[in-house]
Amino acid sequence: MKPIIELRDVHKYYGEYHALRGISTDIRAGEFFSLLGPSGCGKTTLLRTIAGFEDVSQGTIHIDGNLMEGVPANRRPTNMVFQSYAIFPHLTVSENVGFGLRRDPRSKAEKARAVDEALEMVGLAGFGARAAHALSGGQRQRVALARALILKPKVLLLDEPLSALDKKLREQMQHELRHLQRHVGITFILVTHDQEEALIMSDRIAVMFEGGIAQLAPPQELYRRPVDRQVAEFIGVMNFLPATVSAPQGGEIACDVAGLGRVMIDAEQCPGGARPGEGSVGFRPETLTMLYEGEAAGEGGRGRVAEGMVAEVNYLGDMTYYAIRLDGIERPLTISMRNVVGRKVFEEGERARVAWDPGALVLFC
């Protein structure tokens, strides 16, 4: 299947500043694609070059097979939802949503029907006559969505659309956006700095740092197999321990992990590629388990146990986060445990046993 967007070696300079460094990637038709990264990483710049608001200094962009060089924003098959929503304050909701239909040859009645359908699709049926400047943030965002989608673009671009909303509303909109994308079936490209948001909504995520794509993968793969420490640290929480890596032998790599001893690691647990020498292993807080009295390590025989002391307890209602200082390891590790009924919460200073699985480790060389 031909990708809907092809980026080849895209560079962007602002004077001396190198904002985009050789981005090459394909975005598939119908997918929910996210650009994730910290402020200044270039994700919004990339979005704007796709939209046509910025020129590329070097490289090419093809949308649906057509080269976009020299094509201005108003003639590209893309539409954008801006971070500030950019709702025209001097028009009503209907006039806003129907703005792009001005040069559409359909009759007035047909256009009015299309506007009503678009409003219904985003849950704003009946809001047509409202003045645009009298809307709440969430309502404005829906108007912006309706206004963009009514034009049936090939690609919908969203520039941090949820950052201005409060937490509850944001979570609700995340699910709604996902449903909307499935329903409408067009490609969505979302820019966000919130990794939770990207994980919830996306089919694939491109993590960007300093103008380049560090890793492009579906959420699960990104979370479980980050390609390097930077990506690992950006997505969720990760514990790191120094490790000495030996040469690979038949699909398995031997590592000496500080405080945990010798571990055999599968090649697929090293997505960045294995190299002998000094490196580090990482493991997510939920891959470690606090063991209670009498409990044994996980089945399958691969589980190992370490001992240590609880340094800090953070009770968050549904989860408890422990900082554990394992014997022989200086820095405390973070462990998260679901507060299942009957499970006790450890106290500071208590000794505890921790079960861990070598299969959960990620090796960074």
């Binding site: 939209a51 608001f53 201005p72 924003a73 108003n74 003639r75 893309t78 539409n79 954008m80 801006f82 971070q83 500030s84 950019a86 025209f88 304050p89 001097h90 703005f99 792009g100 001005r102 040069r103 400047h133 206004r147 963009a148 034009l151």
Partner: protein, 269 residues
């Protein structure tokens, strides 16, 4: 004593002194005496009715109005271009160019007047209402730019980008989105330029042809003591007109801020 009371009293006294001379205008315009002095004699509207009978005055009013309207339109157009360029774009030489355009704000008007006179006569252009318009546009444009700068600045940039994203070209974007939203600023600029031109004396004095503007006419009457009361009446009308125009301008300025959801920063500057 509440904190700031001393200041408040001072500020009020200050305002009283600021307005005092202006309050004398209606006082003596309705005063039944040819001498402008206390004590007051009776009440009369003769001076106002006398104004209606002077053809030279009517001619001057007409000339002033034509000049003021032309000036306000031209200055606002030039100001719109410049303000948009200044707030939206970065281009080489921006600071010196803008500085030069705004220079008339700090130049003594006599310098502007004599320099224009010299050039226009040197080229051989006859002095007329048009030459006055040229001079007035020069000094009104910086004010127009100041007003329109803030109008453009409070306009969200992404509104224009959104319009383009939805398929409109630059021209349509301007008329459908930008223009309606800066309209209050445009009206303000028109009114302010109109008022400045109407009241301006020295440039008109130097550059006017056979048809004097209203201030130039007033100037010519000031040496005749018997005309003084009717000058007071005329002055009263002019001041009332200026204040009314300014209130309208202020109303539109505030309405503009409300419409685009901007913040009140306190005045034109």
């Amino acid at each position: 004593m509440k904190e700031g009371t001393g200041f408040r009293i001072y500020a009020i006294i200050y305002l009283v002194f600021l307005y005092a001379p202006i309050f004398l205008l209606p006082l003596f315009a309705f005063n039944d005496s040819t001498i402008i002095a206390f004590p007051l004699s009776g009440f009369t509207t003769n001076w106002f009715s006398e104004l209606m009978t002077i053809p030279a005055l009517h001619g001057a009013v007409q000339t002033s109005l034509i000049i003021a309207v032309s000036t306000s339109i031209l200055a606002t157009c030039l100001g719109t271009f410049a303000a948009r360029a200044a707030t939206r774009y970065d281009f080489p030489g921006k600071a010196p160019i803008m500085g030069f355009i705004m220079l008339p704000l700090v130049l003594p008007e006599i310098i502007v007047a004599v320099s224009l006179l010299v050039v226009l006569l040197g080229i051989g252009i006859q002095l007329s209402a048009w030459t006055v318009i040229l001079g007035h546009v020069l000094i009104c444009t910086p004010f127009a730019i100041a007003i329109l700068n803030s109008a453009f600045q409070s306009l969200d940039r992404s509104l224009e980008e959104a319009a383009r994203d939805l398929g409109e070209n630059r021209w349509a974007t301007f008329w459908l989105v930008t223009f309606p939203l800066i309209m209050p600023g445009i009206i303000s600029s028109l009114l302010i330029s109109f008022t400045i031109s109407l009241d301006e004396f020295i440039i008109a004095f130097f550059l006017t042809g056979t048809d004097p503007t209203l201030p130039v006419y007033i100037w010519s009457q000031l040496r005749f003591p018997t005309k003084l009361p009717s000058i007071m009446a005329l002055g009263t009308i002019l001041v009332a007109l200026s204040i009314t125009l300014l209130m309208i301008a202020e109303y539109f300025r505030r309405k503009g801020i409300q419409r685009t959801g901007g913040k009140e920063t306190g005045g034109f500057l």
